[in-house]
Amino acid sequence: MGSLFSSSISLRKSVRIADDEFIQLRDFIYEKSGIFVDVKRKYLFESRFSKRLNELGLSNFADYLKYLKFDMKKAEELTTLFEMVTTNETSFCRDMKQLKAFQGNVLKEKIDEQRKTGKLELNIWSAGCSSGEEPYTLSILLHESLKMELPRWKITITAVDLSKAMIKRAQTGVYGDYAFKTTPDDIKAKYFKKDPEGWKINPEVQSLVKFQQMNLNDPLALKRVARSHIVFCRNVIIYFDESMKKKVVGSFYDNLLPGGYLMLGHSETLHKISQTFKPVYHPGTIAYKKEG
C-alpha cells in the first residue's frame, strides 16, 4: 500500500521560533503569570503559537513579541496568551480521598469552631478554580455537612482563575459528562439537573460561589481577597517555579485567618517551599495549618 502522505512531508508546520525569541516569550509568560516553561517545550510552544500568529497575520515570532508588548490590543492579547499557556484540566470531586479527609477533619473543625463562637460564617478561597468544578464541589460538601443549618450560615467561596474564558464557563454552571468523571452518581443526581446543554448545577449550590478573574502573580489583587478560613489551591503551583511558588504560598499565608488551612493538590507539597505552615496529616491528604 502506498503512502497517502507525501514522502517529503515535513514535521514542522509552524513558523520557526528562534532560541532567543523563545527565551523572550517564555520570560514574558513567566513575568506575567508566574508559569514556568521549560526550554524542552520549545517546539510545543512554537506549534501552539503559530496558529495564533496566523490569525493575527504575523509571519514571525519577533513581530508577535512586539505585538504582545506594544500593540494597542496588547491587553486583549494577554488574555488570549493566558488561555494558550494554561492547562485547565479539572472535574467534580477530583481526589475524593482528599475531599473526604478534608470534610471529616478540616471542615468539621472549622464548623465546630465557628459554632462555638457563634459566628456562623465561613470564607473559602479556591485559587486556580479553572471552569468551576472545584469551588462548586466545595459548596456541595458544605451542603452535605451543614444540611438544614446552612441557611443560617454566611458562606462565601471566592473562586478565581487566570483565564477569563474559564471564569465565564464556570459562571454558566452547565457541564458536560467529562466534568463528572470522578463524581459519585448520587452527588450528580442530587445536585445537578439535566439541561439541553448538559447538566446544570443546583442554584443554591451555585449561589455560594463568587467567581472572578484574577492573576495569582498580582500581589495587590491577592490582598483584596477577603481573609479566608480555608484556601484551596490544587494543581496550580505545579506550573510555577520555586520562587513563584514561595510568593503565592506566602500570599495565602497572609490571607488566611489564624488557625486557617491551605489545601494543595495530591502531588503538591510545601516541602522546600514554606516552613511557616504546620503540616497536619490525615489519611488521604496533608492539610497545611496556619497556627495562631
Partner: protein, 406 residues
C-alpha cells in the same frame, strides 16, 4: 477494511481473504493485488463483492489532515528538522493512516483522563519517599526468584559448560518453555525448529541464552501486579517492542551482542513497575499530567514525584545485582550522554523513541520522549531506510514474541 462491491474495486486493491466464485471455486488467493484484467474477470463470472484490505487511499482529505495533526502532536518534544525525528514522524503517519483506513477512530482528547484513579493509595507521601527508600521497601518485602540467582551464577562463571547452563535453565519449566518459544520466533530466524534447551544453547550461545533467561526470570517477578494499576499487556508490548528495535539497532554496530539489547529493551522501563506498586496514585497522576500537558511521561514523573523511573531502576537493579552493562543501558536510556560510554544506552534511547512512534497508531498516549542528537550520531547510521526496515521487521515479530511471553 471489509466488503466492497464490485463497482467499487479499483486496480491496486488488495484482497483480504481468498475470493471464491459462487460455486466455491477459488478465483484469487488472499493478498492478491487486483489488476484491471482481474476485475474484468470478476465481472464476467458474476462476482458481486470482495473482501479487501484497508486502503489509506480511501481516506478523505479532511481525515488525512486530521491524521497529520493528530500524529504531529506526538512530536512536539523533538527537533522537527532532525532527520531521525522526521523519519519517525513519516512512519507514524503511514501506520496511523492505515489504522484509520481499517476503522480505527482517532482518540478524542476526553479519552486522556481515566476516571478510576480515585481509589488508589500511595505508600509514600510526596517528599517522604526517595527512590532508595521506595526500592528498599520493595526488596525487603518480596524475595527475588531463586532461579534468577542460579542463572546469574552460571552466567558469571566463565568455565560453566553448555550442559550445566542448559540444566539450570531447564529446572524452571515455564522459563524453559518461554525460551524455546522465543528462540523459535522470528527474533532469531533459525531455519529449523529448536526443541530443546541444549540445542538452543548450542545455537544461540551460552552467554546469550543465559542473559535471555535472566531477563525473563526478572520479568516473572512482576507477574502479580494487579491489572487495575497498570495495563500490563501494553506495558510489556512497549517493552518487547523496544527490545526488538534495540536488537536491530545493535545489529548495525560492530561487536555488540544483540541479545543483551533485547533484554535491556525488555526491562528498560522496569522502574515504572516499582513506581506503580509503591506510588500508584502518583504514577497515574503522572500519566495524566503527561497527557494533559503534552509532555513525555518521564518529565511528568519528575514534576509529580521529583524523580523518574530511571532513578528507581538504579537502586532496584543494584539490589538484584543485575549485570552492570545491562543496568547501565536501562538506567541511562533517557540520558545516554550522561553515561561515560554512551553507545549502549544510546541504542535503547533511540529504540524507545521509535517504540513510542509506532505506538501512536495503536492508541499510544505519550509524546516521544525526545531524541538526543549526540546519542543518535554515535550510532553513525542513516535513518532512512533503516528505521522503516526496523519497523517492518517489528511487524513480523511482535505478535509471535508477545505470544512467547503471555
Amino acid at each position: 477494511m471489509g466488503i466492497k462491491r464490485l463497482d467499487e474495486l479499483t486496480a491496486g486493491t488488495v484482497l483480504a481473504s481468498d475470493l471464491k466464485a459462487s460455486d466455491g471455486r477459488l478465483l484469487f488467493k488472499a493478498d492478491t493485488e487486483l489488476e484491471e484484467r482481474h476485475i474484468e474477470l470478476l465481472k464476467r463470472v458474476g462476482v458481486a463483492e470482495a473482501d479487501v484490505k484497508a486502503d489509506a487511499g480511501d481516506l478523505s482529505d479532511e481525515t488525512v489532515r486530521d491524521i497529520e495533526d493528530y500524529v504531529r502532536d506526538f512530536f512536539l518534544y523533538v527537533d522537527p528538522e532532525f532527520e531521525p525525528s522526521l523519519q519517525m514522524f513519516r512512519i507514524a503517519l503511514d501506520l496511523t493512516g492505515s489504522a484509520v483506513a481499517s476503522g480505527w477512530v482517532l482518540p478524542d482528547i476526553s479519552d486522556r483522563r481515566a476516571s478510576d484513579v480515585e481509589h488508589m493509595e500511595d505508600l509514600f507521601l510526596r517528599g517522604m519517599g526517595s527512590p532508595d527508600t521506595i526500592v528498599k521497601h520493595e526488596t525487603e518485602l518480596a524475595s527475588f526468584p531463586d532461579i534468577y540467582f542460579r542463572i546469574k551464577e552460571v552466567l558469571e562463571d566463565e568455565s560453566a559448560s553448555a550442559e550445566r547452563i542448559a540444566k539450570v535453565v531447564s529446572t524452571d519449566m515455564s522459563l524453559a518453555a518461554k525460551l524455546i518459544k522465543l528462540v523459535n520466533s522470528p527474533l532469531y530466524g533459525f531455519p529449523q525448529s529448536i526443541d530443546s534447551i541444549s540445542r538452543a544453547v548450542a545455537l544461540v550461545g551460552a552467554k546469550e541464552l543465559s542473559t535471555l533467561a535472566l531477563g525473563i526470570s526478572a520479568i516473572n517477578y512482576f507477574k502479580d501486579i494487579p491489572p487495575e494499576l497498570v495495563d500490563m499487556k501494553s506495558f510489556w508490548r512497549h517493552s518487547i517492542t523496544c527490545g526488538i528495535f534495540a536488537k536491530i539497532l545493535a545489529g548495525t554496530q560492530i561487536g555488540l551482542s544483540p541479545e543483551r539489547f533485547f533484554i535491556a529493551g525488555l526491562l528498560h522501563d522496569v522502574g515504572r513497575l516499582i513506581l506503580f506498586k509503591k506510588l500508584p496514585y502518583a504514577s497515574t497522576e503522572a500519566m495524566l499530567f503527561a497527557r494533559e500537558n503534552s509532555i513525555p511521561l518521564v518529565e511528568a514523573e519528575r514534576s509529580i514525584m521529583d524523580f523518574c523511573h530511571t532513578d528507581v531502576s538504579q537502586p532496584l537493579l543494584q539490589s538484584w545485582k543485575f549485570p552492570e552493562g545491562l543496568s547501565d543501558m536501562i538506567n541511562y536510556h533517557h540520558s545516554p550522554m550522561e553515561f561515560p560510554n554512551p553507545l549502549e544506552p544510546a541504542i535503547i534511547h533511540v529504540a524507545d523513541n521509535l517504540t513510542n512512534a509506532v505506538e501512536i497508531a495503536q492508541g499510544g498516549m505519550y509524546v516521544l520522549p525526545g531524541i538526543d542528537v549526540q546519542a543518535w550520531e554515535i550510532l553513525g547510521i542513516k535513518a532512512d531506510p533503516l528505521l522503516r526496515d526496523a519497523v517492518d521487521q517489528y511487524h513480523e515479530q511482535i505478535d509471535i514474541i508477545m505470544n512467547a511471553f503471555f
